[in-house]
């Protein structure tokens, strides 16, 4: 069965070996089963992608119907030479750099520790995972309140620690992005935590038992068994995380609306502002296509790495 379904090559060979049913026996029912999903897939993923690519070459406006006048590469030229575009891409990258390493390392540490604790796992899952299912709006309202300058919890903690003039985290261009990143770390670590816990389950216990009999310390076990065997999970988490960070919108929109100044404005923020505030959806599409290419490239790199890993494995 597994050979029949995992690859169509398997299905072909099975049929060729004299299987009861010919190669394309199910043409009509298969397309009927696929039709509803494929319709939605085409309408809300494929067509918008194509339309986005086309309108990026036109002076399309949300205020008017139709594509508008042809612009050639003007939208791209504008974006690639505009200070704001590069600033916002830099902010996006900044956010990615602040969030990805702790979200990978801490999630790994938490999962390895939780996997060793025999009782009360439900408690850790509750503590780390529940924030992940909360709406970003809830997260933002909670953290804006914690960061409230003067009387918020974070300012109070700084005062207790002897800092007479606490930093207003979100009001200072130097720290605003760090503030958003901390809220994001708190919010999303549960997802990676669960992925790592699931990965840890797949490591056979015998490996650890054999290592323990050989007298290895727990550190050595983590170094030589856990980390290498979780490398696939780690590369998956890193890529998922980078892509998610490049698409950041909610927290910034809700916590700082891109401010103070434009110090936390990110790529999606630029896209939505250009389209819905300046009504220039053609220019917004050009920015979206550029971001799209970056994300696609990262996803493609991961595919290549994974293929290499499979080949060497």
């Amino acid at each position: 069965m597994s050979t029949q379904t995992t690859t169509s090559a398997g299905a072909v060979s099975l049929a060729a070996r004299g299987g009861a049913r010919p190669r394309y026996a199910d043409n009509k029912p298969a397309w009927l089963f696929l039709a509803p999903f494929v319709l939605f897939f085409a309408l809300f993923l494929v067509v918008p992608t194509i339309y986005m690519a086309i309108s990026s070459f036109f002076n399309t406006s949300i205020a008017k119907s139709g594509l508008g006048s042809f612009a050639g590469f003007a939208n791209y030229q504008e974006m690639l030479t505009k200070r704001e575009f590069w600033d916002d891409m830099w902010h996006t990258l900044q956010f990615t750099l602040y969030t990805v390493p702790p979200l990978v390392v801490l999630a790994f540490v938490f999962a390895v520790l939780a996997n060793r604790v025999r009782r009360g796992q439900w408690f850790f899952r509750l503590a780390f995972f529940v924030p992940f299912i909360l709406p970003s709006a809830t997260i933002s309202l909670i953290w804006v309140f914690i960061y409230a300058p003067g009387n918020g919890l974070f300012a109070q903690i700084q005062t207790w620690l002897g800092n007479a003039a606490p930093t207003p985290v979100l009001a200072d261009p130097k720290t605003a992005m760090v503030g958003v990143a901390i809220a994001t770390l708190w919010w999303t670590i549960g997802f990676n935590f669960i992925l790592y816990l699931a990965g840890l389950q797949d490591i056979p216990r015998e490996l650890y038992e054999a290592a323990a009999i050989d007298g290895t310390t727990p550190w050595q076990q983590i170094r030589y068994i856990t980390i290498p065997l979780l490398s696939r999970t780690t590369s998956l988490i890193i890529v998922l995380q980078i892509i998610a960070s490049l698409k950041i919108f909610d927290q910034v929109y809700l916590m700082t609306s891109g401010g103070p100044g434009t110090s936390t404005q990110t790529a999606i923020g630029l896209i939505t502002n250009t389209a819905f505030t300046d009504f220039r959806s053609g220019a917004a599409s050009a920015a979206a296509v550029l971001l799209f290419i970056v994300i696609l490239a990262i996803a493609a790199i991961r595919q290549l790495i994974e293929r290499n890993q499979e080949r060497t494995a």
Binding site: Q4, T5, S8, Y24, N27, P29, A30, W31, F33, L34, F37, V38, F40, F41, L43, F44, L45, V46, T49, I62, N115, R116, V117, Q121, W122, R125, A127, V130, I133, L134, S136, A137, T138, L141, I142, V144, N151, F191, I194, L195, A198, G199, L200, Q201, R205, Y208, G215, T217, L236, L240, K247, F249, D250, Y253, T272, A275, S281, S285, L291, L296
Partner: protein, 298 residues
């Protein structure tokens, strides 16, 4: 609480055997240290939520005074919650979020499982093409498409309807692959028996495959529900009528309009999340399995 990720897969040697190995005692000490470190982190992780809960149960007058006043306050009150529930806004938001999430779940689960069934079980021309295009589809970052989706919905006059929130979220490609993966693991014999009895494909899908797929159906259903409930970007731009706002969009409008009423703000943020927390407490295993499935098998 049955913990699938729990004791059974603990990396350490079982307690009865631990003392026999030379490193048994140090392993036990190590495990205790692990537990303590993790406990500290877990408590740190709980502080923001507990702080929001504590604030929501004080009065606006007290919370406006700041952190020390909130900490000292010892007379919890439901005033903020009652005011919100009387106001009516939150009920509109609940209705919008429930309707859009529930309808999207039904459409996604039915359509994605049908597509997954075809890709897993049926042999047809173009299978590889469909498979490849869908794989590419996983990589398409949905948020980036907000502008063309907005324009498309505007062109067919669906802006400011629930459908504008529902329809673009139906094609969750990852769900197709999770379903396909699950169907691949089902024994083929039952299907063959049904086929001998004269059952058609639709009948097999409905009466054989789907009843066997309850775990993956509920996992995908709950995850889709959480995703749609929490989506901010799409409803923020395709819905401007306050009556149709979902919880996240409604909450986004709260901060400005409430000014310094910190208790009300925290109460509304927690009310917005409450249904999901309840969902988590009831279905936590399914949610956790769903996350593990989307990550590892996608």
């Amino acid at each position: 609480m049955a913990t699938t990720t729990g004791s059974g897969i603990s990396a350490a040697a079982p307690p009865a055997r631990a003392p026999r190995t030379p490193s048994g005692n140090s392993t036990r000490t190590f495990n205790i240290v692990c537990g303590v470190v993790l406990g500290v982190f877990a408590v740190v992780w709980l502080i923001p939520s507990l702080w929001a809960i504590k604030t929501s149960f004080t009065t606006n007058a007290v919370s406006a005074l700041g952190t020390p006043a909130i900490l000292k306050d010892t007379s919890p009150t439901l005033a903020s919650y009652l005011a919100l529930l009387e106001g009516g806004d939150i009920w509109n938001w609940y209705l919008a979020s429930f309707l859009t999430s529930a309808i999207t779940v039904v459409l996604t689960v039915v359509f994605a499982s049908m597509a997954g069934y075809a890709l897993s079980r049926l042999r047809f021309r173009g299978r590889n093409v469909v498979f490849g295009v869908m794989l590419l589809g996983i990589m398409i970052p949905g948020q980036v498409l907000i502008v063309p989706i907005f324009e498309g919905l505007g062109a067919v006059h669906l802006l400011n309807t629930y459908w504008a929130v529902i329809l673009p979220q139906v094609p969750a490609v990852i769900a197709v692959f999770v379903f396909k993966q699950f169907f691949d693991g089902l024994p083929v014999e039952l299907e063959e028996a049904a086929r001998l009895d004269g059952a058609g494909y639709w009948r097999i899908y409905r009466s054989v495959i789907m009843p066997l797929s309850k775990p993956v159906i509920s996992a995908m259903g709950i995850l889709t529900f959480v995703n749609v409930w929490n989506n901010l970007l799409l409803p923020l731009f395709v819905v401007s009528n306050p009556k149709l706002m979902t919880i996240p969009v409604g909450l986004a409008t709260v901060q400005g309009s409430f000014g310094q009423r910190y208790s009300d703000i925290q109460a509304s943020s927690l009310l917005g999340a409450l249904p999901l927390v309840i969902l988590f407490l009831i279905f936590q295993r399914r949610i956790v399995e769903g996350v593990a499935g989307t990550g590892l098998k996608g």
